[in-house]
Amino acid sequence: MGEFLYLYRGGQRSPSPEQSQQIMQKWLAWMKELTVSGNLKDPGQPLELEGKVVKGKSATVTDGPFAEAKDLVGGFSLVVADDLAHAAKLAGGCPILEVDGCVEVRPVMKMDM
C-alpha cells in the first residue's frame, strides 16, 4: 500500500456550458467511485492556470504559465493504492482523458521512522 499523487494535466477547460456540465457529472461519478472503493485519500484542489516562476540564485520572478496549456497542471488529488501499477490503473477512469488531458501518477516518497 502506498500513497500516490495524481496530477491532472491539460484537458480543455470549459468548452460550452452544456458540455462542461456533462464533464463535471463524469468527474463527480469518478470521484465517488474512488471514495467508495476507499482509494481516495484527499480529493485535492483545482489550480489557477496563472502563476509565477521564481528561478536562479537571484530569485528572478517571471510570469507563468510555464509550459504549453496542454501540459499545465490543473489540479491534484491524493489516492491510496496497492502499488504504482494499481494507482495507474485507477487513473484510467479519469474523465480528463476524454478531453485530451492526462493524469500524471507519482508515488509519494515515504520514510518509515
Binding site: 462542461s20 463535471m24 463527480l28 470521484m31
Partner: protein
C-alpha cells in the same frame, strides 16, 4: 447575476458582466469536479460572482468607467467591498432584475428582440435555449442578441425604476414581453414540443418578480400573474395519454392543477383594485370561468361571451374575435358562431393561423356539413406547425368521414 453585475459595471459594460458570470460558472465547475457540488450551489455561484466582481472592479478601476451613480463608491478601496456587498443582498438583486427587465424592453428594440434579451439577461437562458424557444438557429439568435445588446449599451444607462412616469410608460411593454414568453411556451410554434414548460415557468417567475415588487405591483401585473397561473393550470391536460393535443372540449379536467387554479384566483382577487381594467384582467377572468366549470357542458358561456365583448373593446384583435366567435357558437349555436366568424375584421390576418380553419371546421361539423368541415380541417392541417397539431387535425378529418353521407 448578470442583472446585478450590470448594475455595478454600468450598462455599457454588459459584456463584462456576462463574462464575469460565465467565469464564475466555469470556476465553480472546476472546483465541484473534485470537491463535489455544495449544498447550495446557487448561493455558492453568487458568492463566486461577487468575489470576481470585486476583483474586476479593483483591476479595471482605472481603465473603465462604471455605473455613473455607483462610480464614486466603487472608486475607493474603502467603499468598494461594501458597495458590492450591498448590491448582492436579496432585495437589491430583485431591484436589479426588475431594472434589467425594464432596460431590456427598450422602445428601440422589436418585441421579439426584447423577449430574447429578457430571457437571456434576466432568465439566464443560453443562446441555444433562446433559439429553441423561438424556432431559430443558435447562430442567428446569437447575432440578433449581440445586435440588441449593442443597442442597449448605446443607451448608456440602466432604466431608472424610481422614475414613476417612465416606469408607468414602460410597464405595458414589459408585461407584453412576459406574456409573449408565456404564450410561446403555452402554444408556441416549436416543431419539436407543443408545450414548453420551461418557458411557462420562467414567465411565471418573472411575472411574480414584477407583481411582488413594490413598484411593479400594479393591478395589471397582478392580473397577468393570475392569467398565467389559470392558463398554466390546464397544461397537464393539454396533451392526452398518447401525447396528442386535447382541446378544451374533451380535456380530462381532473388533471387540471387545482393548486395553480387557486393561486391564479388569489392573484385575480388581489388584482381587482383601482379603476384600471386591463386585457389581462379580462383574459384571466375568462380563464377563471373555464376553471370554474367541472365539465365542459357546465361552462358559463353567457359570462364568457360578455367577457370577450369587453376584451374586444379594450384590446381588439382578430385572434380575440376568433375566440369570441367560438364562445358565441357555444352559447347560440354553430350558425351564429359562423356568422360571428364572418364578421371578424382583418380576417386575412388569420389566414396563416391553423386554428381559424379548425374553428370553422368544428362549427361546420356541428351543422353536419361534413364535406365543408373536412375542407377547413385540411386547410388547417396545411398550416399546422408541429406533428402534434398535425395529428390532432388528422383526427378531426377522420371525424368528418364518420358522419358523411
Amino acid at each position: 447575476m448578470v442583472a446585478t453585475l450590470t448594475r455595478a459595471f454600468g450598462l455599457h459594460n454588459l459584456a463584462l458582466a456576462e463574462d464575469v458570470v460565465q467565469d464564475a460558472f466555469c470556476r465553480a465547475l472546476e472546483v465541484w469536479k473534485l470537491r463535489g457540488i455544495p449544498e447550495n450551489p446557487s448561493a455558492w455561484l453568487m458568492k463566486t460572482a461577487k468575489n470576481r466582481a470585486v476583483d474586476v472592479l479593483r483591476r479595471e478601476r482605472t481603465a473603465l468607467t462604471f455605473a455613473p451613480d455607483l462610480g464614486r463608491l466603487l472608486q475607493t478601496e474603502w467603499t468598494l467591498t461594501n458597495a458590492v456587498e450591498e448590491m448582492f443582498d436579496p432585495i437589491g438583486i430583485k431591484d436589479d432584475q426588475l431594472r434589467m427587465m425594464f432596460s431590456c424592453c427598450h422602445p428601440r428594440l422589436s418585441a421579439p428582440a426584447q423577449v430574447m434579451l429578457v430571457l437571456q439577461l434576466v432568465g439566464g437562458f443560453g443562446a441555444r435555449e433562446v433559439a429553441s424557444a423561438f424556432v431559430s438557429s443558435p447562430a442567428a439568435v446569437e447575432k440578433r442578441l449581440s445586435r440588441s445588446k449593442k443597442t442597449l449599451a448605446e443607451s448608456g444607462v440602466l432604466f431608472d425604476i424610481a422614475d414613476a412616469a417612465d416606469f408607468a410608460l414602460r410597464m405595458p411593454v414589459v408585461q407584453r414581453a412576459l406574456y409573449l414568453i408565456f404564450s410561446e411556451g403555452y402554444h408556441g410554434a416549436s416543431p419539436h414540443a407543443v408545450i414548453r414548460t420551461d418557458l411557462c415557468c420562467e414567465s411565471i417567475r418573472l411575472a411574480r418578480l414584477l407583481a411582488e415588487h413594490p413598484l411593479g405591483a400594479v393591478p395589471s401585473s397582478l392580473a397577468l400573474c393570475a392569467l398565467m397561473y389559470l392558463d398554466a393550470a390546464r397544461l397537464p391536460a393539454r396533451l392526452d395519454a398518447g401525447g396528442d393535443l386535447s382541446s378544451l372540449f374533451d380535456q380530462d379536467r381532473s388533471r387540471w392543477d387545482r393548486g395553480m387554479i387557486d393561486e391564479g384566483r388569489a392573484w385575480l382577487d388581489r388584482s381587482a383594485t383601482g379603476t384600471e381594467l386591463s386585457r389581462y384582467h379580462v383574459e384571466a377572468a375568462i380563464a377563471a370561468a373555464h376553471a370554474a366549470a367541472p365539465r365542459f357542458e357546465a361552462t358559463d358561456w353567457t359570462a364568457i361571451v360578455s367577457l370577450y365583448d369587453t376584451l374586444m373593446e379594450i384590446s381588439p384583435s382578430p385572434v380575440v374575435a376568433l375566440n369570441r366567435a367560438i364562445a358565441v357558437a357555444q352559447l347560440r349555436g354553430p350558425q351564429t358562431g359562423l356568422e360571428a366568424l364572418d364578421a371578424v375584421n382583418d380576417r386575412d390576418r388569420l389566414a396563416r393561423y391553423p386554428f381559424y380553419y379548425a374553428a370553422r371546421g368544428e362549427l361546420e361539423l356541428r351543422r353536419k356539413n361534413n364535406a365543408i368541415a373536412r375542407e377547413h380541417f385540411a386547410s388547417a392541417l396545411a398550416l399546422a406547425r408541429n406533428p402534434v397539431e398535425q395529428r390532432f387535425l388528422k383526427k378531426r378529418i377522420e371525424a368528418c368521414a364518420c358522419g358523411a353521407i
